[in-house]
Structure formats: structure tokens, C-alpha cells
């Protein structure tokens, strides 16, 4: 299977604190990759490096089998949709006006706007200024912006943040449908194992910036059948934390 994202020894240091420590990720095409780790593990920092928002201290990134350089960065990023940490929006404009600006910048047809609004079920709240949205609605708008160009790769950082149980369920079903419906590859981060467990096929687990496990989720289940998945996760991340 093709690898959409490959990182080699990806490292980020802030001062003498190493937040991301020689990560070598392999993300396969048309799959959902769960990126799991406790708070402060370095998930957001890693995803920001993939998007060129943060410069790596060390290591390389290959996107779509092409080495990422400052030169081809924009070209490669055109095929990526992202939602990092919190949704981005212009608060005084409504959802449609926001998406219209993004569509213009992305050079995608306006018809995509209606499509993504429908996908995230925001089509009923067209007139409302986004600053008056609830947290969950903003999150949906963030997802809509990420989907707007129907990219090959979707990077979602804790997309269920602020959603209610029904919203989480809905988001999960939506994310699960993306690879088969639109041929997307999805990277989704979370600090909750249960959430990743229900969505992802592949998983990467990090703690303190180091990769503790990478592979198919099924295989993780099989590593120690006497333990629950929760316990395995705690063992993997806890071991690192007590070091």
C-alpha cells in the first residue's frame, strides 16, 4: 500500500525541551490513522510540522511520496485539508461567507460550499454570524473548511472537541465514511483511546514526543489478550512518563 505521509526522525525542540522526539510515522493511503497520546505528548506539534506551520528542528517529511521543501510546500499543501486545535473563522461573517472566502483562496468551485455545509449539517444555519455559533457548530464549520477542497489527505486534531455525545457519534460516522466515499486518507488525533478505537484502522501512539507503538489497531488488540486495550495504552504511555 502507498504511503501518503512518511516522516523520518522528525524532531522539534523548544529551548532544551524536546516535544517531538525522532518520530518516524508511516501513514498509508485510504486509511484512517489514529494519532494517540496523552495531553502534552506532542500530537498538535507533530501535525503542525506536517502542515509547515512549525519548522522541524530535525528530520524530514515526505508527502505524497515527495520530499517536503519550502519550495513545493504550497503545492503539496493544496491537497491537504486541516483542522488543528481549534477551528479558524471570521466571527462577523456567516458560515457561507466564511467558506466563500476560503473557496476563493483554494480556487475550488462554489458548488463545494453547499456540499460541505450539507455534509457537516450546517446548511440550516446560513444567516447566523459565526461568532454566535455554539462550540460544536464552530467545530463543524472547521471541519467544513477542511473538507472544502475534497483533499486527498485530511488532518484533524481532536475534531470531537466540544461536541456532545450525539455530535461525537455523528462526527465519527462521518470520518469513517470519508476514505470509501471520497478516497481520502485521514489522520485523526485524540487523547482518548476509546474514540480512536472506534474509528481508526491504523494507530500511532506517542508519549513525551516518542513513538511507542505504530501499526494496525487489530494487532494492538492481539499483543496481550489478557489485558484490555485501555490497559495496554496506559502501559505504553505510562512507561514513558515514569522514565
Amino acid at each position: 500500500m502507498n504511503e501518503i505521509v512518511t516522516t523520518t526522525n522528525l524532531t522539534k525542540k523548544y529551548g532544551d525541551q524536546t516535544c517531538v522526539d525522532h518520530l518516524s510515522l508511516r501513514i498509508r493511503e485510504n486509511r484512517i490513522y489514529g494519532f494517540l497520546g496523552p495531553n502534552g505528548a506532542g500530537k498538535s506539534t507533530t501535525l503542525k510540522m506536517l502542515l509547515g506551520l512549525v519548522r522541524p528542528t530535525e528530520g524530514t517529511i515526505d508527502l505524497f511520496s515527495e520530499r517536503c521543501t519550502p519550495k513545493n510546500r504550497i503545492k503539496l499543501l493544496k491537497q491537504i485539508g486541516s483542522l488543528i486545535e481549534s477551528p479558524s473563522y471570521y466571527g462577523h461573517l456567516n458560515a457561507k461567507e466564511n467558506l466563500k472566502i476560503f473557496a476563493t483562496l483554494l480556487q475550488v468551485p462554489d458548488s463545494n460550499i453547499e456540499k460541505v455545509l450539507q455534509i457537516v449539517r450546517l446548511d440550516k444555519h446560513q444567516k447566523k454570524a459565526v461568532s454566535k455559533f455554539s462550540l460544536g457548530m464552530k467545530q463543524r464549520l472547521g471541519l467544513a473548511s477542511a473538507l472544502l477542497s475534497f483533499p486527498k489527505l485530511l488532518i484533524l486534531d481532536e475534531p470531537t472537541n466540544g461536541l456532545d455525545p450525539a455530535g461525537i457519534q455523528e462526527m465519527r460516522e462521518l470520518i469513517k465514511s470519508l476514505p470509501s466515499q471520497y478516497g481520502m486518507t485521514v489522520i485523526v488525533s485524540s487523547h482518548l483511546l476509546s474514540e480512536i478505537d472506534q474509528m481508526a484502522e491504523d494507530v500511532g501512539i506517542i508519549a513525551n514526543g516518542r513513538l511507542m507503538y505504530q501499526g494496525e489497531l487489530n494487532q494492538l488488540h492481539e499483543t496481550d489478550s489478557s489485558k484490555s486495550l485501555e490497559q495496554i495504552f496506559l502501559d505504553l504511555t505510562g512507561k514513558e512518563q515514569s522514565l
Partner: protein, 253 residues
């Protein structure tokens, strides 16, 4: 770039930016035109305006720049837009588009008050025709310092999420500019800070004013134009642009 500028316009819809800016320009004009126009004033009207206006401008135009630059930047900071924009377009182009859009608005205000001045002169009945060459020079010497001041504020308001940084820099700078006009013994003040150039580039002098005769024997005349200062100003503008854009590009969001 046209697309990006169109987006800038879309972003400012319903922000009352244009209304605010026009309001400030209007206040500036009322301030500048307020006065009693007696015989002497009418006689020297055109020149008198050229003599007085740099002072008014050095207060209002930097103020206008503060308002526009931080309003435009705040739009992005509030909804954490930069991290999304940086992924879908080139950060340099965002910097440029916002700069051009902001400069367009300030320059437009400049042009409005400039035309209003000439119109006003004719309506009140200043003697003679407008000395167009001098007025064009004056327009140039008003817009250029404003552009450079704007460059600085633009960089600060995009680089620092907290708009207080650009706001206070703008206010302090404005006062430095004002003081430099009253402190001709410190010419360095005018040349070091971009706000000082409204004064440094003033080219009309007033002569013959005494306590007793007041305006009676006053006359105005063209002084030597400080092209060196103008050159420094332009270099300053280029440097600020290059530095600001580079820092913005390198900034991690």
C-alpha cells in the same frame, strides 16, 4: 493578487471599517478648516494651508493607520485564521495583500482630504488659483510618511496577536512626531522616527509674525526641500517592508 484583495474586501464586510475611517477623515477636515477667514488669511490662504496642515496630518494620519492596520489584523487573530490561511496560501502573499488593501484605504482618505482642501479653498475664496505644483508635492510628502508609518504598524499588528502593541507604538509614535515639530533643535527626532517626516518634509515657512503685528505682516514662502530626508524615508519604508514580511513568514502559528 487580485483574488486576494477581493478576499480582503469580503473580510471587511459588516465591520464598519470604511465608516470609521471616513468619520476620522471628516473630523480631521473639520479640525483643519475651523477658523476665521479674514482678509489676510484669504490672501495667503493656499500657502497658509500648506504651512498648517502637516501638523494636523501628523496627528490624524498615524491615528488612521493605527485603526486600519489593527482592525485588519484583528480579523485574523480573533478567529485564529492565520494557521488556516498559512496552509492554503503563501504567508507572504497574505502579508502583501493585507498591506496593499490597508494602504489603499489610507491613501484614499489622504486623497479625499486633499481634494476637499482644494475645494474648500475655492469655496471660501482664497485669492488666486491653487498652486497645483506645490499641492502635488504636498500630497506626495503626506502620503509617503503615512505609507512608512503604516508599514511599521502593519508588521506589528500582524506579528503580535495582542493589538495593544501596535496601538501603543502608534500612539507614542504620533506624539513623538508632534513633539518633533515643536522641537526644531532636535532634528534627529524627525529623521529617526517615521512619524517625524510630516515635519521634516514641510516645505513652506511662515515669516514676519510678531507679537504686536500678529498676522498683519505675515508672508509665506517656499523653503528648501529636504530631499535627503525624503530618500531616507523611502529607504526606511523598503527596509520595514522587507523585515516585516520576512518576520511574518518565519513566524510559527
Amino acid at each position: 493578487m487580485i483574488t486576494l484583495l477581493k478576499c480582503e474586501y469580503e473580510k471587511t464586510r459588516r465591520t464598519y471599517l470604511f465608516l470609521t475611517v471616513l468619520g476620522i477623515t471628516l473630523i480631521q477636515l473639520c479640525w483643519a478648516f475651523y477658523g476665521i477667514y479674514r482678509e489676510e488669511s484669504l490672501k495667503w490662504g493656499w500657502m497658509m494651508f500648506l504651512y498648517q496642515f502637516p501638523l494636523v496630518n501628523s496627528f490624524f494620519l498615524p491615528l488612521l493607520s493605527v485603526v486600519i492596520s489593527s482592525r485588519l489584523a484583528d480579523l485574523e487573530h480573533k478567529g485564529v485564521m492565520l494557521k488556516y490561511l498559512a496552509v492554503i496560501t503563501d504567508k507572504k502573499r497574505i502579508y502583501d495583500a493585507k498591506l496593499i488593501y490597508g494602504l489603499f484605504i489610507v491613501s484614499l482618505c489622504n486623497l479625499i482630504s486633499w481634494s476637499a482642501t482644494i475645494l474648500f479653498g475655492y469655496i471660501v475664496g482664497f485669492s488666486g488659483a491653487v498652486p497645483l505644483r506645490l499641492y502635488l508635492l504636498y500630497l506626495l510628502f503626506t502620503i509617503m510618511p503615512t505609507i512608512v508609518v503604516y508599514q511599521l504598524l502593519h508588521a506589528l499588528s500582524l506579528l503580535f496577536q495582542n493589538q495593544a502593541v501596535s496601538f501603543f507604538t502608534g500612539i507614542i509614535g504620533t506624539f513623538i512626531g508632534l513633539f518633533s515639530m515643536f522641537l526644531p533643535q532636535f532634528p534627529i527626532l524627525r529623521l529617526v522616527f517615521p512619524w517625524g517626516y510630516y515635519g521634516a518634509l514641510q516645505f513652506i515657512g511662515m515669516f514676519g509674525w510678531t507679537k504686536e503685528t500678529r498676522m498683519k505682516n505675515v508672508y509665506f514662502s517656499v523653503m528648501e526641500i529636504d530631499w535627503v530626508a525624503f530618500g531616507i524615508l523611502i529607504l526606511m519604508g523598503i527596509a520595514l517592508y522587507l523585515i516585516g514580511e520576512k518576520l511574518f513568514e518565519r513566524k510559527e502559528v
